[in-house]
Amino acid sequence: MSSYRKFVIKVGVLFIIFLLFDFVFGSSLRKLYYSQTSGLLYRTTYSLEKTQADILIFGSSRANHHYHPDIISTGTNCSYYNVGRDGMGIMYHYALLKGILERYKPKLIILDISIGQFSKENNEKEKLSALLPYYKTHPEIRDLLYYRGPFERIKLHSQSYPFNSIIPTILVGNMEFNKSRKNDLLGYIPLPTRDPKMINYFNKNDFYKTDPNTIDSSMVSFFEEFIRTSIEKKINLIVTISPYLTNSIIDDSSIKEAIKICLKYNIPFFNYYYLQGISDNKNNFMNAMHLNEKGSINFSKMLLPSINIQLNKIREQN
């Protein structure tokens, strides 16, 4: 037998060992992933597979840290869960919405968006990796996961691949100290106060403008799909921009696109990037883009009347 053929057989055997390893390793990781009872990955699972809350908050870290559960749930007399997740954009949240709506319909969704929400630099397709562990059990999100790359369909045949790059997080999430710790309040994570001298404003100039060419039009489309899906399923939706630490006038292309689409579908849009009494006070912020717990309480109180107006509309319709 030629040396080449012998080598092909060796590689074949290696490949079979690799597949076995992938199956055992992947299955173990899946078990460990789902056995977490707190932490970021657990919250994603809870958001997608368990929550039955009346009010859901969607968005990135700003959503996750800005909408105080006690204020909103007490003020509305509705159950609340915050499905916001740090760093996640509209593609992630659209996929999450599709997954959640397979199980139940919340009464109200608040979608918090940010300045630069649809920027090309956000690398949203990469961030969908957060939903790879749910590929097998949630067929409704698969089409979105395929956007990650041309070989994604092939890679997702691997048992281990969905857990690519989160193994340390899974292992730490299963340690005893992590299991006993509950560090979130219905998905909401309060941020600590910080010395105001260490916090800089979002923008030093009086005027902040972004170039329309920085917009990723596919992300704008996903935002529109989020809205359309909510309307089709008769879910009430509010789109908000929560406060920044700023005194500037913001002329952001993403916000303009979002306003256009909300007007088209008659969706309430609350642009609170600057809220007097909050945005001009560093004591409300942990950094220029994130409210601390005190700031989130103040903001949630200010937002409450608008939320109740929407909820009253729902009650009247019913």
């Binding site: 590689v11 691949y161 690519n164 790059s165």
Partner: protein, 446 residues
Amino acid sequence: MEVTSIFFILLVLISSLIYYGIKPHYRVLFLLLISAGFIVSYRGFYLIYILLFTIFNYFIGLLIDKQPDKKLIFWIGIIVNIMQLILFRYTDLFIKNTNDLFKAELLLVPLGISFYTLQGIGYLINIKKGWEKPEIRFTHFCLFIIFYPKFLSGPIERSNRLLPQLTPLPAFSEKNIVNGMKLLILGAFQKAFIANQLYNLLDGFRNNLALLSGTETLIMIFSLPLVLYFDFAGYTNIALGISKVYGFELSPNFDKPFLAQTVSQFWRKFHMSLSYWFNDYIYKQVSFKLRKLGNLASAIAVFCSFLLFGVWHGSGINFILIGLMQSLAINYEFFTKRFRIKHFNKYDPYLGRILTYSFYSITLILFFFQSIKDVGLVYRNVSNTYNLTFRFLDFKILLYLTIGFIILLLYKKIRNNLIIESLFLVLMLVIIFSFSNSSAFIYQNF
């Protein structure tokens, strides 16, 4: 295409099986096909552009050799090569205006343009000087330009080094495939784990630049060469490893650069393919033309080489300053050599290594911080308080880096033992799998 992923590593192995399984006269076409596929996986535009570039240089190469008026054709080739690099890399307006005109993102900075432009220019110079004959087979010349392992960030391969390896093509060798795969895994580990963790460490400092203590600033500055080295050396090992799988030897880019005792020595050990390119095609030509000026010719040649070296990295003033600083240091070393040997020889090699590393760290501030404000902040922070409070130093990252460096050091020592080496490779693969994300290589932007 994520070159530090397990999927990519498997694809390389599978491609090598197909490569050696097909008839030899189809193998160049096969490599062209997978190289084209690799480039298209980024964007189709990059493939179209590099093919146009290849066709142009192929015909210019043939014409230089055949036409009586070599000089004119040669200079047309050189000027077009340089102009297209300037247009795409250094003129935002060209791309912006074209895209605005067609209201679509038609043009982008072609990936790898800085690398393959130097390859093209080097090829034309070699033909003009009579150092090699032009490659008549378009397929072979095309493969020299677009060969996928070196497409993203080099090494900047010489035509008279790679083209001869294509005729005849290397025969199947299990040793080449195994050694190539080992180098590929090592490179992916260096990039996916060590370089990325170093980058995360750096980001922790960069995101809080105004608040760093003196200690943290120094840690940041002295980590800069390591960030660049592991990112780039990782990629180079991936490129060399993949090439070896197919039986080719690409030019090395690094030779223990942090053991260099002078800046001159450093540039013979760091990004060697680039520094030797500038040495052979700029320094030697300029110093020869000005030879009547004696030592001054060498000084001017060093200045020209490193000025262009800086400009090659980018159009900003910071890159030009980086180049100038290197040329000043090298000229200083040249003109003070006797004095330094007389007074400081007893401290060699350690003093030299520390000074060289420190010098390079300081120049890299201009590489990693491109706004004048941030550069100023870094230099100012050096005079901040020195204490042992590390607010922005992530100890989890330090732990990862310690583990990474231990693995690398041990791997170098245990390579005679097949079983232990295999276990180390499996460990590296698991770590690559656990930690890889899609951060680009630093030099991918050039």
